[in-house]
Amino acid sequence: MLTIEKLKEFGADVDTGLSRCVNNEALYFRLIEMAVREPSVLSLGEALKANDLDKAFAEAHKLKGVMGNLSLTPIFEPVSQLTELLRNKTPGDYESLYSEILKKTEELKIFLG
């Protein structure tokens, strides 16, 4: 069961995220659930594996918008870094950034049950 406390513990900027949802807690939680089940998370991994950097950029970019809007900072931060690297196809540790994203997403999924 997701709660505000758990989200805060997780590291989300709950106040900002909630205010974007006009302080509608139920809506906020529902959108978080949608976000962590977002197919982009998996497509991003697949694109990286296939070394399709354009596709990976598009997916990362999309995730960045979503995670940012929900203020899920622990996911938003690695997604942002990854997006910037992919934008110019700068070589970097895509792998570990992606596993961080995956890890944090899984953490949230556990909260959600």
């Binding site: 205010s19 006009v22 959108l31």
Partner: protein, 578 residues
């Protein structure tokens, strides 16, 4: 004061926002933020966005565009919208997490940005509202929004808001209502312009209050004409009552200013706004001068009139080409002597319509006056008349001057003088043979300009008869400064003088006064011997009417010319035989 800065409220219909966003979480957040203020339509792909804009752009207030879309990109959507002049006025705000894209979007015509992650909902709402209002203001500012005297909307602005009202109230039946003051000019004459303006402002204030209460919009159109658009009602009497004003009338106490109203109820929204109000105006005109029934309703018979009018307008060009318009001539007799003598004629046009038969000038003249076709018709009549005068001169060796009508709109035509001079020249006439009749009401409209034009014509030698004197708002003082050669007393005025209690005092006063300014008078519409006798006794100089003859085709008119020639012929015979 009515100068309320209240904006017309299109409530019930929220402004519509097109949200182009494929990501469901972002969609949901934005929808939640906007929902209270706007109606949100969502497009998930660029293709869908273009489709929605092209079918609904008139009702959209703004597009919120994500750049990262499946299919055609947001940038491409923006480019297509801004390249098409039909949609380019629609403001687009780009939503992006990518500050690098901003310059490109601005260059392409995006008006603002909403970054991702989204700022606070308040900020988003404020940006959208500001953008929408700026864009609406820009559209609307082209028109001078309000009428200075009353603070009401002017016509152009009003029509735009009526259209907007319709967009947001598609299923609400509405009324187009026109109201004006009976004989407003007499009010100005009687109380002065300042008072007249004050009365107009009072009516405007009442109208504004009524519009507020009934959820409608109101504007001032012509000096004393107002238009009201509102959800359909059935209490027109009370609406009219609330619009009316009472003014102090010095020793006479209070005087109620009479309004008349035309209602086009449950107006057909497929018609142009202007057409709908034309219908209301027709309804108002139908009760002109009717003091007991001040409200007219647009009905089927008016619809028939309208259909006929449309046909006549359509048929006009071919009628002119095929000479379906025939000029008839009605004699004017000089009655200053013991025997009446033919002095001149008036040219009157008839329409021999191939399908409708003879169409009365009472039907087509007012119509053509309204839409300006009268100018072409007048010119046609002048030419035909000029040629006829020439033929009579040639055939009878006698000059029969004929008067032709010069409509108000002709007097504003800078080519008028040349047109008339050409006709005179082409037919080898003396300018005095083509007499010009100018209607009295033309003088009152824009006196200075008209007076100047008429003076110019007189200086060239044309004789000017003032037509319809006594029909409208004649002021006898006009005689002292108007350049005219004869005064034609209106037919209806003559009839009224001889009707019922036979009060001919005003008629007599007019003839006397005209006489004292040495302006001869011509009585029109004279039908009986008694009228001729009385008019002669009052000092009227010329008489025209059925008593002598109805308007005749040129060949039939010739018997009057022959008659007039007869004494000369006799004299000639005597000379020859003697």
């Amino acid at each position: 004061m009515v100068n309320k800065e209240r904006d017309f409220n299109v409530s019930g219909g929220k402004r519509r926002v097109l949200l182009v966003e494929d990501e469901i979480v972002n969609q949901e957040i934005m929808r939640t933020i906007l929902n209270d203020t706007y109606e949100v339509i969502v497009a998930e792909t660029g293709e869908d966005a273009i489709k929605i804009v092209s079918s609904q752009y008139e009702t959209l207030s703004i597009v919120l565009l994500d750049l990262n879309l499946p299919g055609i990109s947001g940038i491409e959507v923006l480019r297509r919208l801004k390249d098409d002049p039909t949609y380019s006025r629609l403001p687009v705000i780009v939503m992006t997490a990518d500050s690098d894209a901003e310059v490109e979007c601005l260059t392409l015509g995006a008006i603002d940005f909403i970054p991702k992650p989204y700022p606070q909902p308040k900020v988003i709402l404020a940006r959208i509202l500001r953008t929408v209002e700026l864009s609406e203001d820009r559209d609307i500012l082209r028109f001078t929004e309000r009428d200075r005297l009353t603070g009401l909307y002017n016509k152009e602005f009003f029509y735009r808001y009526v259209s907007q009202f319709d967009l947001y109230h598609k299923d609400v039946p509405t009324d187009a209502i026109v109201f004006d003051i009976n004989h407003f000019r007499t009010i100005n004459d009687r109380y002065g312009k300042t008072r007249g303006d004050e009365i107009l402002r009072n009516i405007a204030e009442n109208a504004s209050n009524v519009a507020d209460d009934v959820g409608g919009i109101v504007c001032r159109n012509e000096p004393d004409e107002f238009m009201l658009y509102c959800p359909r009602r059935n209490d027109y009497d009370s609406v009219l009552d609330r619009l009316s004003v009472v003014t102090e009338d010095g020793e006479n106490g209070e005087n109620r200013i009479r309004l008349r109203m035309g209602v086009y109820s449950d107006a057909d929204k497929t018609l142009d706004v202007e057409r709908r109000f034309d219908r209301a105006k027709m309804a108002a005109d139908a009760v002109r001068g009717n003091l007991t029934e001040p409200i007219g309703f647009y009905d089927n018979s008016m619809r028939e009139t309208e259909v006929l009018a449309a046909q006549l307008i359509d048929d006009f060009p071919s009628a002119l080409r095929e000479k379906q318009f025939v000029v008839f001539y009605q004699p004017k007799f000089d009655v200053r002597y013991s025997e009446p003598v033919l002095s001149s004629a008036e040219a009157l046009v008839r329409w021999k319509h191939p399908k409708l038969g003879m169409v009365s000038p009472g039907v087509f003249i007012p119509l053509f006056e309204q839409n300006g076709l009268i100018q072409q018709l007048d010119h046609y009549v002048w030419s035909e008349t000029g040629a006829q005068i020439r033929r009579w001169k040639e055939n009878f060796n006698m000059s029969v001057p004929v008067s032709v009508n010069v409509s108000r709109v002709d007097l504003y035509d800078s080519g008028l003088v040349n047109k008339l001079l050409n006709i005179v020249k082409e037919n080898g006439l003396n300018v005095r043979e083509l007499i010009l009749e100018v209607t009295e009401s033309a003088y009152t409209e824009n006196s200075e300009k008209i007076v100047e034009k008429v003076k110019q014509l007189r200086e060239l030698g044309f004789l000017i008869e003032m037509d319809d004197f006594g029909s409208g708002y004649s002021s006898l003082s006009m005689l002292s400064y108007l350049p005219i050669d004869a005064l034609k007393l209106d037919m209806q005025f003559i009839r009224n003088a001889f009707n019922g209690n036979k009060d001919t005092r005003l008629l007599e006063a007019m003839i006397r006064l005209a006489g004292s300014f040495e302006v001869p008078t011509i009585a029109e519409g004279v039908e009986t011997e008694e009228q001729v006798f009385t008019l002669k006794a009052m000092g009227c100089d010329f008489i025209q009417g059925y008593y002598f003859s109805r308007p005749l085709p040129a060949n039939e008119f010739e018997r009057f010319i022959e008659e007039k020639k007869a004494p000369f012929n006799r004299l000639e015979n005597v000379r020859q035989t003697g």
